[in-house]
């Protein structure tokens, strides 16, 4: 059991605003529990930021655990394959509402016959293979950024610029997530192996492990990092710093210019869970079919679960002794940035780091917002120094020129402006809308 002082749970933002992380508090001491697969698994053929993969199975086909069911499109460098998380039989391929896009997208429904053995790929010895082969393995294993972005990892492993620095993001800023911390406690050796593999592929000179832990909280893991010359950066308790762009500034004091990416300043950031997935793909020959996540409801508190992708939310609920009738809506991933769904038959995706279930009694605090009082709290708290309220006004008027001037494209969509608004206005959608309006204008 890891002891935490009270002040470990106060995330302080700009302007002395605090982010409530009491949800996390209930989960940090809870070890991963493996959730068995559901009778029917639902696998969306797009679980990354690129285009949908091609289904390579037909209804009625038997599948093995780890077998590829969605193949990358020829010539598409962004997509990664999707694998079956169980031994079973393909029931159907049908359009379902995708939790991330809200659009109808193809999903493969698999009837589970057994849990199966995830070893469709052969284990590799990293010393015997080239970097290109390692990158290809990462792609073949279907690995994407597991922090929530779903960005294809193989793309980040093949930058067109020379990098000097690798940062592993274990900041775990989200108020409802504690699974990254559990990885440090429970999967420490595999995580470190994954980090070293990434460093080898990228040929970086410096590795920094960015963590929110205090000295002595994870002694064994810290020792492993030190043994492997991995610097530990203990990041101040703050939510927004978990963002890739701000983490680079926090760790290296380098600001990524607007419109550029971490490799442009010689850095790359990977999530701790991604490092674990890479380690398993290379050393064990495992495709990415399961992950750790944190479930939270008022009834259960925080629970860390090991869940296969494609597991419907209602199966997770019944595993925890509850039913979907008890809840009204669910947030997938970060409670500050993740999408809200009301259909409990929707599944866990690769980037689902958490599920937060709300009952009907837990009202959405943003319902019936009041008119803006221009208190400027949103400006004060904004970690990238933009003006959300003025952007909202510009977006309402469709004023593209003002949106440009107000640098809406630099918004990191952290949600803090909405979080602090005394009038309970959800400003984030206006910022997202403003960014899209500018993008559409360019196109």
């Amino acid at each position: 059991m890891v002891a935490h002082r009270k002040n470990d749970y106060n995330f302080k933002e700009r302007g002395r605003f605090e982010v409530d992380i009491s949800m996390k508090k209930t989960a940090v001491g809870d070890p991963f529990t493996i959730v068995p697969p559901a009778e029917k698994m639902v696998l969306f053929l797009r679980q990354h930021v690129g285009r949908e993969t091609k289904p390579i199975v037909q209804p009625g086909d038997p599948v093995k655990c780890g077998q590829k069911i969605g193949e990358i499109n020829e010539g598409d460098p962004w997509s990664v394959p999707v694998h079956s998380p169980v031994d079973g039989k393909i029931v159907t391929i049908k359009k379902l509402s995708h939790p991330l896009s809200g659009e109808e997208e193809n999903a493969v429904i698999i009837e589970t016959t057994s849990e199966g053995q995830n070893s469709s790929l052969s284990p590799l010895n990293p010393n015997d293979v080239s970097k290109e082969q390692l990158v290809e393995r990462v792609r073949e294993a279907g690995i994407v950024g597991l922090g929530g972005a779903s960005f294809p990892t193989h793309v980040k492993l093949t930058p067109n610029k020379k990098l000097s620095h690798l940062i592993i993001n274990a900041k775990e800023s989200d108020s409802n997530i504690a699974c990254d911390f559990r990885l440090m406690v429970e999967k420490s050796r595999e995580v470190v192996n994954g980090i070293l593999l990434i460093a080898k592929i990228l040929d970086v000179t410096h590795i920094t492990f960015a963590s929110r832990t205090k000295e002595g909280q994870t002694p064994e893991f810290d020792e492993l990092l030190r043994e492997n010359n991995i610097t530990i950066a203990r990041i101040r308790p703050n939510y927004s710093v978990g963002s890739e762009r701000l983490l680079v500034k926090e760790v290296l004091n380098k600001e990524i210019p607007s419109g550029k990416f971490p490799p442009d300043v010689g850095v790359v950031v990977h999530n701790i869970a991604t490092a674990l997935a890479i380690s398993r793909a290379v050393y064990n020959g495992e495709a990415l079919i399961s992950r750790g996540l944190t479930f939270y409801s008022k009834k259960t508190g925080g629970k860390n679960l090991w869940v296969r992708m494609g597991t419907p939310i209602n199966h997770v609920l019944s595993f925890l002794g509850m039913s979907s009738g008890e809840f009204e809506r669910y947030v997938l991933g970060s409670i500050m940035m993740g999408p809200l769904v009301s259909d409990p038959s929707l599944p866990i995706l690769k980037a689902t780091s958490g599920i937060t279930a709300f009952t009907r009694e837990e009202r959405d605090p943003y319902v019936n917002p009041l008119p803006c009082i221009r208190c400027a709290y949103c400006n004060i708290v904004c970690p990238v120094f933009i003006y959300p309220q003025l952007i909202m006004e510009a977006e309402k008027k469709g004023n593209v020129k003002a949106l440009h001037k107000l640098h809406v494209v630099d918004c990191i969509e952290c949600g803090l402006c909405s979080y602090v608004c005394p009038s309970r206005i959800k400003l984030t959608p206006y910022l997202v809308g403003g960014k899209r309006r500018i993008r559409e204008k360019k196109e």
Binding site: F17, I335, G338, L370, C375
Partner: protein, 348 residues
């Protein structure tokens, strides 16, 4: 509702975040009301029962009008503008505290009435935003109307907020300034039997001028607590106070007068110190960008200072209203460079 509005309404339901800090507008208003109540209490102790009646008159008028409108909106099934009375309560308290103690209660009730009806409800309804500080705008409007009284045979006897004898004071010379300070030298701490010199009475125990400025030091302390606790637009406060202090020192040096007395008069007089903390920081009518807030504060101090020197009664609120009008323009300048654009930090 156009397509964009429909789209955003849908967004509001499902888009993140799904966590809320919980500090609502009501809480902000209630805490502000609490801070104002401390000042009101001190003002009543210092200025006596008349101060209490002014405050109650303002509060009562505002709440009666608010309740009537609220009930009407409810009865007609219209959208309720203010679900809770906290914001009108703050407006009422500000009116009460921004009235001169020499004013009549009818004038206070009139200002409160115009504040809530015209500049709080009316302004919000027709402009979807308050461009002018309601209490300040109401006072300026009434001041203009009451200026007609200047043409009355004996204007002071009509009971008004405009005292024409102010125009006879000459604050440009040290002699004129000292002479005009007689009104503050009357301050007495009754229970201790102490008569305070003008400098001290201006700062601690004013029995003349704005009710809210009876104890300038207390306004400074309570206002500073509010600025920190409730995150008022502190740049306006700081830049106004510093600018006014510098202007006071400058005029004292130019006229060869007592620097402390000048600071005590220009900075701690109720029409400035109370206005700076509790009216000039009114969120809707003041700029958003930080640099613009500094500009707002500096301009407010300069304008108020000039109008004070010319003895324009209500100079500070006229200055505030003028700057409120400039706010939409100030909102277009003074932006901080966002992350990724700061060259010194590696941005472009």
């Amino acid at each position: 509702m156009n397509t964009d509005e429909v789209k955003f309404k849908e967004y509001q339901v499902v888009q993140p975040p799904h966590l809320y800090m919980g500090f609502t507008k009501d809480e902000l208003m209630l805490k502000t009301f609490f801070l104002l109540s401390i000042i009101a209490f001190a003002s009543v102790v210092i200025m006596g029962v008349n101060a209490f009646i002014h405050i109650i008159t303002a509060l009562g008028t505002v709440l009666i009008v608010h309740n009537l409108i609220h009930s009407y909106q409810k009865w007609k099934g219209y959208r309720i503008t203010y679900e809770s009375p906290t914001s009108p309560m703050v407006a009422g308290m500000i009116v009460g505290l921004s009235m001169p103690i020499a004013s009549t209660f009818e004038v206070t009730a009139g200002v409160a009435f115009i504040t809530i009806l015209v500049f709080k409800y009316g302004q919000g309804k027709y402009f979807q935003r308050k461009y002018l500080n309601p209490a300040a705008a109401a006072k300026v409007l009434l001041l203009l109307l009451l200026s007609i009284m200047l043409f009355f045979e004996n204007p002071l006897s009509t009971g008004m907020i405009f005292h024409p004898h102010h125009l006879e004071l000459n604050l440009f010379t040290n002699e004129g300034f000292i002479e005009s300070m007689w009104i503050f030298q009357r301050a007495v701490l009754p229970f201790l039997g102490i008569r305070l010199p003008a400098t001290q009475s201006l700062m601690f125990w004013q029995t003349h001028g704005w009710i809210g400025g009876a104890c300038g030091i207390l306004v400074l302390i309570v206002g500073a607590i509010g600025a920190y606790w409730l995150r008022y637009k502190w740049r306006i406060i700081v830049s106004s106070l510093i600018s006014m202090t510098l202007l006071s020192i400058t005029i004292a040096l130019l006229t060869g007068g007592d620097i402390l007395l000048r600071i005590a008069f220009h900075v701690f007089t109720g029409s400035f110190i109370f206005m700076v903390f509790f009216m000039a920081t009114e969120p809707q009518s003041t700029p958003m960008p930080g640099k613009s807030q500094y500009l707002f504060g500096i301009s407010l101090a300069i304008l108020t200072f000039i109008l004070q020197l010319f003895n324009v009664l209500g100079g500070s609120i006229i200055a505030l209203v003028l700057l409120n009008i400039a706010t939409p323009f100030l909102d277009k300048v003074g932006f901080k460079k966002p992350y990724g654009h700061r060259e010194s930090k590696g941005g472009k």
